[in-house]
Symmetry: C2
């Protein structure tokens, strides 16, 4: 597994270890983070965790962003954050912390790889191996919304030339440096001719610099449908923020479970690594959540930090755990020599296989 980034982060070292900001989050966050940190520690990764508190409790203390100044400073200083899912309280003008971090630190690329683990995790698509490269700052995520009259509300969708160029180029560079063969662009440019049309045009332009990579544009409706029904025909997909949100959940789910997906939010200087799933408050504190999504995010983080070897060690131990039929409930299917375990036991099983 190799992970393209054109950026060398200025990492601060403490005791020869790389300081990394860690947010344990809400809901199932703390338990899956503990599971992941146990694995990282036992694998002897070269990082020094620096914990910050963000999310629900902080929102309720009156910080409308869900983050205190010291948390901001920690991310700014360390440049790398591993973040468990958080809960944004309903109503009351609370802004999504995910989105705030992405835009405040300019994390323009959201990279979401998914690979089927057939036959160990049940899927209809044993050859699924797709990377969604999602634009991460623009589109309908800017939060510019208003109620014009009692009856009319509107939201602004933003697509810019620099934002699009950057993400499209990132997708092609990712494909090139990871030996990927095809990049598909998905937008709705038959309806949004100016905004999505801009995205498609820049895709065509930048694509000319990558003649060795197969290129195609699909309308998002049929594109999402084909990703759901024959995902093995896709390779790298580049798209705008909202479509990327939707199709990355689709791909993860049809590969077996959204519980397995990790993601990298990459910026010029700061990067954030997180699971693609949410904080699942309904199953929190029960030791049943799957730590794999966050673990895969941590593995991407280690690669980003240049710790390829230990990243591979952990990835292999995780693969062997799954292959040995040691599964959390979300991917567990009754069968011979398959064992259902809790979050903690799953982490211990990975540790045993390091």
């Amino acid at each position: 597994m190799s992970f393209y980034t054109n950026i060398t982060p200025q990492i601060k070292y403490m005791d020869n270890k790389i300081a990394v900001t860690i947010a344990r989050g809400d809901g199932i966050g703390p338990e899956i983070m503990d599971a992941v940190l146990l694995i990282l520690e036992k694998a002897n990764v070269n990082i020094q965790p620096e914990f910050i508190e963000i999310g629900e409790k902080v929102y309720r203390q009156g910080f409308s962003s869900g983050m205190k100044p010291e948390a901001w400073e920690s991310i700014q200083r360390n440049k790398v954050i591993l973040k468990a899912p958080i809960t944004t309280p309903q109503g009351g003008g609370y802004k999504s912390l995910n989105v705030t971090i992405r835009t405040a630190f300019g994390l323009f690329a959201n990279v979401r790889p998914t690979k089927a683990m057939h036959p160990f995790v049940k899927t209809h698509f044993p050859n699924l191996d797709v990377v969604i490269v999602r634009e991460n700052e623009e589109d309908l995520y800017t939060g510019i919304e208003y109620r014009q009259t009692a009856e009319v509300t509107q939201a602004l969708k933003l697509i810019s030339v620099p934002g699009t160029e950057r993400i499209v180029r990132y997708a092609f560079e990712y494909a090139r440096t990871n030996g990927r063969k095809k990049v598909t662009c998905m937008v709705k440019d038959n309806i949004m001719k100016i905004t999505d049309g801009l995205f498609a045009n820049i895709f065509r332009e930048v694509g000319k610099e990558y003649p060795q990579i197969v290129q195609e544009i699909k309308i998002i409706d049929i594109g999402a449908a084909l990703l759901a029904e024959r995902p093995e025909t896709f390779d790298v997909v580049v798209t705008t923020n909202l479509y990327g949100d939707i199709i990355s959940d689709i791909v993860a789910q049809v590969s077996g479970s959204v519980g397995m997906g990790g993601s990298a939010n990459i910026g010029e200087t700061v990067s954030m690594f997180e699971a693609i799933h949410g904080s699942a408050p309904d199953i929190a504190g029960k030791n049943i959540a799957n730590p794999s999504g966050l673990l895969n995010a941590a593995i991407m983080m280690l690669v980003h930090l240049g710790q390829q070897t230990v990243a591979a060690t952990i990835a292999n131990a995780w693969l062997r755990t799954i292959e040995d039929g040691i599964h959390t409930g979300d991917i567990y299917k009754e069968g011979q020599s398959v064992r259902k375990v809790g979050t903690k036991e799953f982490a211990e099983a990975v540790v045993q296989r390091l």
Copy 2:
């Protein structure tokens, strides 16, 4: 099959037949429309086709809407149109004719039912039976887009109280009158708190009037993913225009083929019936396209016109054709007693089974 509408269209009768506007469209349009009209004629439906020309040729003659005044008048007069897919030329400010007809005639509800035809059409989901009720006039489909600077483009997403109330009520009434048990609302109200939040709130409010119907709200990312991976857990889904566009293609595709889906665009006085797929110029004129999507649209039209009996006769003949293993290429899978046929031969096989 029953089809809810709270509207009694004022239909004009000619020779005791109900006049219906027919647009043969572009690409595969003419051949699938001919196939459908053959079946309707042989089934002795009580309609009198009135043909209009719309689409590519008309755009190129300088009508930027893709329609001449006489076509508008025909729809206005007849109140019902059966429309084959059309092609909008690329670039040059051509507006989508689909969208123009939907908004010009106030076709606020786009109803897209999909049912698995297992084992006759291959699918992973034999129990799939989902109806997408898609808002059809608002959202990002209003076409309000602009380039603000050389580098920045924006589009407006509109969600209104009356538009939302109307579609949500339509979905619940559809569920009630068709014996459906559950209505799911899908939006992204954790990000678009004002626009999608409005949609979710109205869903909650209107839902109170239907205590006998199970109700749930799902974020569109995981909602679309679950529709792709376990569609049999959904029943009626109500959503905004763009999400509806995406998820109706997903559901049709995982049921076997987008080539089978019909849809009804319902307004206060006018209604339009069409396949959910496009004009597929790459396979046009080859007698290989599947006429089933347009045929299912025509069946919905007959029900809408009160011709339940003949609608059922056609629906059953079509079902028997599929069950007898007579398939167009898109759903054909090699096997015993399955026959691959062309568009025309498929229509003739349906006629034989009337």
